[in-house]
Amino acid sequence: MFTIMRDLFRYSSSFRYGFIVVLIVLVMVGLSFFSPYRPDEMRVVPPNRPPSPDHILGTTSTGQDVFWMLTFAMRNTLMIAGLAVLIGRGIGVPLGMVSGYLGGGVDRVLSSIVDSFIVIPRLPLLILIASILRGQLTLFGLGVLIGILDWAFPSKRYRAQILSLRERDFTNTAVFSGMSTWKIVLKEHLPFVIPYLLADAVSGILFAIGFEVTLSALGLSAMSMQSIGTMIYWGNYYGALLANRVWILAAPVIVSIIMVIGFYMVSTGISAYLDPRSRLARMQVKG
């Protein structure tokens, strides 16, 4: 684990920058625990002030400090995304692995289910569920909901991954030298699957952040919760654009862009590290 991180830092500039962004995001999340205001407290600061030394990102129309609101928003958005990734991968990874290892009839049935799910557009479905649950949807519920809808693509990718691992020479060598199936899976294949899981989980976080922002900005999630999407929603609701209070909207928009790009860079850094072709090129360059 440590050597992987060191190699990633040394050879992948995209991982390096992405990791720094993710660290900053985590520091912001950590800061939310030291916020001088409670997240749902309104009218604690003078409303509609542009950024100033007192309130470095300005204040909202409901009298909240944008900077501290943002720390809560990032925490909640990341929690939703993390939950969604856990649930989505919790369903998708075992399914893909079972389908890849067992093959045959099981694989055919599972693959056709997965293929059918991939074609179904998820956003209308999510909107339907969220609009019916409006008011009752919590942070937890939103994470579960996004997770339930994001398992088909990961499952397909893990199946492909397992199929290619099964065909590699070292698997055959292990089989012929009498290794048990479990041992092959745990000792030979898992070291390949885990870094892949890492990259995949990060891209899952991206997907979930996108859905959270979209749903909340449409006013469909738990609207009293602070998240990147709800900040945009309430900003629009109080006419931040019309009244030219750009700081209220700019903060969540810019933060969300930086956040997704940071995570994406981490994910591409890991993927590039995993790609045997680029690894070969790197080894040649470094002698």
Binding site: V119, I120, P124, L125, L128, L133, L218, T268
Partner: protein, 332 residues
């Protein structure tokens, strides 16, 4: 014959499964929810006026009939299928008693027009730019395109279109804020140019998002192809670079692109829904948004169902055209 049995039939079967699942899900979700649409509707009526109990019961019975909530759940399910097959999705609550199918009909043209145009443009643009960048990975322009599009790629559609909206309708107002067109519909330059003017920004946001996605794939494919033996051979034979790119590399990477088009249809459609909401473009995405705000369940269900069936059908058609491109599928 084996083509029919091994490729076309399973694919049609899969389409039928998706449609079945879609209809069942749109049937089940509202019924599993703790919120009863009939109760909500009655609550909405009684907030403004009082009702005597008899009239209340009558209203309840009528509403249950309208929403297809009569009888046991199995009866409801069969009745729902019958209505869906007839194309009757019930009345809209927002614009009672206009049928849902009519409201969808008014918006679908805008959505399909916007979606089809931007999908084709972004697909072609992504393949061309991606293949160029994959074949010439070290030129400065390919670096610039790559850095830009890779940065744009992870940004959610909503944020992308919202930023475009902020920039080009508030701070530099060169595009209109709402609507699909000005003036009366007709086949004249004024109307058509106004349609183009209104749809430019929504289309642009979908094109940027779609191109970025396609670009990353096209670049990876072209890069792998450019390192293969036959391309190196063609280069040693001193064929013009452009010829190698167009008739060797792009031609050989077209297959995954066609195949992937079916899968990405859904994602681009989702983008179109979001974009329509942001730009108040009068397609079904915007209709869906107003339906959400008004709690119009029939309309929400209708649009959800239609989008599932529509996307499933569109990707079926793309998949069925696949044998035309890939001889390996044809002669299996």
């Amino acid at each position: 014959m084996t083509l029919l049995k091994e490729y076309i039939l399973p694919r049609i079967l899969q389409w039928a499964v998706v449609v079945f699942v879609g209809v069942t899900i749109t049937f089940l979700i509202p019924r599993l929810s703790p919120v009863n649409p009939v109760d909500q509707a009655i609550a909405r009526i009684t907030t403004f006026q009082s009702m005597d109990p008899d009239a209340m019961l009558m209203a309840r019975a009528t509403l249950e009939d309208l929403y297809g909530l009569k009888g046991s759940i199995v009866d409801q399910y069969i009745a729902y299928w019958r209505r869906v097959l007839k194309g009757d999705l019930g009345p809209s609550f927002l614009a009672f008693p206009t049928p849902v199918s009519k409201m969808i009909g008014a918006g679908i043209g805008w959505t399909v027009g916007l979606l089809a145009t931007s999908l084709i443009i972004s697909w072609l643009l992504g393949i061309i730019l991606g293949s160029l960048a994959g074949y010439f990975p070290n030129r400065w322009w390919s670096q610039v395109i790559e850095k830009t599009l890779v940065t744009v790629y992870p940004v959610p559609y909503f944020i992308l279109s919202f930023v475009l909206l902020m920039l080009f309708t508030y701070y530099w107002p060169i595009f209109p804020l709402v609507g699909g067109a000005k003036g009366t519909p007709g086949f004249n330059w004024d109307y058509i140019s106004s349609v183009l003017h209104h749809s430019f920004l929504p289309a642009l946001s979908i094109i940027i998002g779609g191109t970025a996605f396609r670009f990353i794939m096209a670049r990876a494919l072209a890069f792998a192809e450019a390192n293969s033996n036959y391309v190196q051979f063609a280069e040693i034979a001193a064929l013009p670079k452009m010829k190698i790119l167009v008739s060797y590399i792009i031609r050989n990477t077209m297959l995954p692109h066609v195949n992937d088009l079916a899968l990405s249809l859904g994602a681009v459609f989702e983008g179109a829904l979001i974009t329509e909401v942001v730009f108040s473009y009068p397609g079904i995405g915007y209709t869906l948004y107003s339906a959400i705000n008004a709690g119009d369940y029939n309309l929400i269900m209708g649009i959800t169902l239609l989008s599932i069936v529509g996307i499933a059908t569109a990707s079926l058609l793309v998949d069925l055209s696949y044998p035309l491109f890939d001889p390996r599928v044809r002669y299996r």
